[in-house]
């Protein structure tokens, strides 16, 4: 018997997309100096959604000036007052949740059930959480008086556009800083709707400024002399450029970069849960997750059985229209990203990796990719080392705990890891030995505004979330 899902398409009527989207500087939407715009595409269809302003160095300078002008007054507000703005913003986000979720899905390609049930609720929660810190900063670092840094420049990626905006803006504002932020060029729409929410909440002009654009806009922020701190989430490659660019300045820096995180499944794991956890770890959000469990390390004794279960589960994943509430895996964010993933998969196949992809069809229009894996690969296999940032898993085996740990740590990255075992002591021993900033034990991809997130080694430095998430935005008086 064939069990088909009837389509359950979320309506897009709730969203009103401006055909021409301007920059948000000093509390107003303004034209870019160059009068240049670029298109943003719906990756599920390949069709353009709207035009986005292209900010150049002059626009960035105007944004920084606005942030600098707003800073003294914002910093002098009591924490209580700053908190009030952030609470208001959180409540409005909750009120307009569906609008934000639909817009996010249209521009990013992620399934509506994720943007609705994961992204947007976490966005509201982040503002709510940091709102409550604004008047409690005397507890941030015990015994120390703190002050804000000033104007912070923030550059965020396209994989969780709104959530990354929340992770950056909420703590910065709670601590009394003002912000110049650049969304990724393929996903600018949702943060511009957030700007409307800032206006609705009465956030003072200049406290948050949004400059849309691509690499050059980002470079203008990084190189601007009147910015006190840079926060960047994106690829390690770009981060290296940024790190060098600010080396001879006093600018503070935090980086949240890529990963090649290992999911370790011991033979005494709860197998069905582990299968679900591995699937979620790499295929959630189309694999566009810095902390994706993109390497699976299986204890040899259960490897064959586990891989069979994975194949079985993958056959039932639903890849398709992101606006369909039944969809598990949506569209790859852009043509460029799609091509990159396909190229990496091809190279993996030509390298001799044992490739598997499910048998179902995926849409031919738009940028879709099947969830897939390479089995029985070694640590030297290219896709065991290179971040694909797509729904591609590399599977290998181990025999002992020590070997699992060694293999898991055999990477220049160190963002996350998963450990699956029903034996608590083994979980703790493994977790203690793993060089990763987030360890998920018997679960994966859990996020909370109170839980610090960030990497070891080349996955970056600094933490976002929790009390630790305040540190990058404060200095000791």
């Amino acid at each position: 018997m064939n069990f088909e899902y009837a389509p359950s398409i979320e309506s897009i009527d709730i969203v009103k997309i401006d055909p021409k989207n301007k920059l948000f500087i000093d509390g107003k939407f303004v034209e870019p100096t160059s009068k240049k715009f670029f298109a943003t595409i719906n990756p599920a269809t390949g069709e353009p959604l709207a035009q986005i302003a292209d900010a150049n160095a002059k626009d960035v300078d105007l944004a920084v000036k606005a942030a600098r002008k707003a800073f003294p007054k914002w910093a002098k507000l009591s924490g209580k007052e700053r908190g009030r703005y952030l609470f208001r913003i959180a409540r409005i986000i909750q009120e307009r949740a569906r609008e934000l979720a639909v817009l996010e899905t249209l521009d990013n390609g992620k399934p509506i059930k994720e943007s609705r049930d994961v992204d947007v609720p976490l966005v509201a929660a982040h503002f709510f959480y940091y709102a409550g810190w604004a008047d409690k900063l005397e507890y941030a670092i015990p015994g120390k008086d703190t002050k804000p840094l000033g104007v912070v420049g923030q550059i965020i990626p396209w994989n969780f556009p709104l959530l990354m905006a929340a992770w950056k803006i909420a703590p910065a504002l709670a601590c009394g800083n003002t912000v110049v932020i650049k969304p990724a060029e393929t996903t600018s729409l949702s943060i511009l709707l957030l700007a409307q929410i800032f206006q609705e909440a009465g956030l003072p002009e200049g406290v948050v400024n949004i400059v849309t654009g691509a690499g050059e806009t980002g470079a203008a922020i990084v190189n601007h002399p009147d910015i006190n701190k840079i926060a960047f989430t994106g690829s390690t490659e770009v981060a290296r450029i940024i790190q060098k660019a600010v080396a001879h300045t006093d600018k503070k820096l935090t980086l949240e970069l890529g990963g090649k995180s290992a999911n370790i499944v011991y033979e005494d794991a709860a197998i069905e849960q582990a299968v679900e956890g591995v699937i979620n770890g790499i295929y959630f959000n189309q694999g566009h997750v810095c902390c994706a469990g993109s390497r699976l390390l299986l204890e040899e004794s259960i490897a064959e059985m586990f891989v069979d279960k994975l194949k079985n589960r993958m056959e039932k994943l639903r890849v398709g229209n992101p606006l369909d509430k039944n969809t598990d895996i949506g569209a790859i964010n852009s043509a460029a990203e799609h091509a990159k993933i396909m190229k990496l998969v091809e190279s993996g196949i030509s390298e001799g990796g044992e490739y598997f992809e499910p048998s179902f069809a995926i849409p031919s229009k738009g940028y879709f990719h099947k969830p897939c894996f390479f089995n029985k690969v070694s640590s030297a296999f290219s896709l065991s080392r290179v971040e694909v940032f797509g729904p591609v898993l590399a599977i290998s085996t181990f025999r002992t705990t020590a070997e699992a740990i060694m293999k898991a740590n055999d990477t220049q990255y160190g963002l996350a890891a998963g450990v699956w075992s029903e034996k608590g002591s083994k979980v703790h021993k493994t977790a203690a030995a793993l060089k990763a900033g987030i360890i998920w034990a018997n679960t994966y991809n859990k996020f909370d505004p109170s839980s610090p997130f960030g990497g070891f080694n080349e996955s970056g430095f600094g933490r976002e979330g929790g009390r630790h998430g305040l540190f990058p935005y404060l200095s000791i008086k």
Binding site: F87, R91, G132, K429, G466
Partner: protein
Amino acid sequence: MSGLNNELKIAKTIKLFIGGEFPRTESGRSVPVYLAKSKKIYANLCKASRKDLRNAVTAAQEAQKGWASRSAYNRTQILYRMAEMTEGKREEFIEVLTNTLGYTKIAANKAVDEAVDAFVYYAGFADKYQQMVGAVNPVSGPHHNFTSSEPVGIVALVCNSKFNLGNMVAQIAAIIASGNSVVTIMADEGAATLAPLSEVLATSDLPKGVVNLLTGDLAELHSHLGTHMEINSLSYQGTNKKVLGELKEMAAGNMKRVIPLIAQKDMLSLDHLINYVEFKTVWHPIGN
């Protein structure tokens, strides 16, 4: 009101607030509240009895486990909603404060501001204090050892006889932020604020029974509070040393934690909140 003159305005009956409902005192007794500096009765408040107190403790018990098992984020939102509701009822609070206590409008507005501030402050603390007082402890040997906090359970709160709306709200919020439930004995002064305050609590998605408000004679009730075996903590915010001593003596019966007067400067603080939590430390081996 059309047709009829002001003499026939309908006065609100101010009852107790127990288990999310508004019962009268089972004793049928009342205490008049007068218009400030006048012999004119503003309202008849309930004079709560020992039985009402017991009912309130039962309601608090039934509610507490569910309240504590809510996520901290959920408690944050509910406390914030109390701020929203208080702001919405500003005029009603002002009416009670000006009429029964003779507050000026400015003073009454200030009192409401302080109540809103207190709700927002503790709303913002409910999901943070754990990170300030919890710890992973560096014990010697291969054990993962962590200390986390839990609510103490049922708290009885005796308000200061000198009425202060902001302080009373802060005390209630500090107690429930961590997942406790509370039975509050309001002071005589300002007792009519039970009306708008209970309505705030009843419209904030707060589970029934988490906060209970009683008006009555403390002298009559205090021995029942002190000896009630299901009350885990007694917060005596009065200044009578003799009464405090007696409560502390009675508390020995089931080792109630007794929390004495909290200073004004500490009303909005971490140390206020952690008066109402217990610390639990868990060990787990690290090894094969």
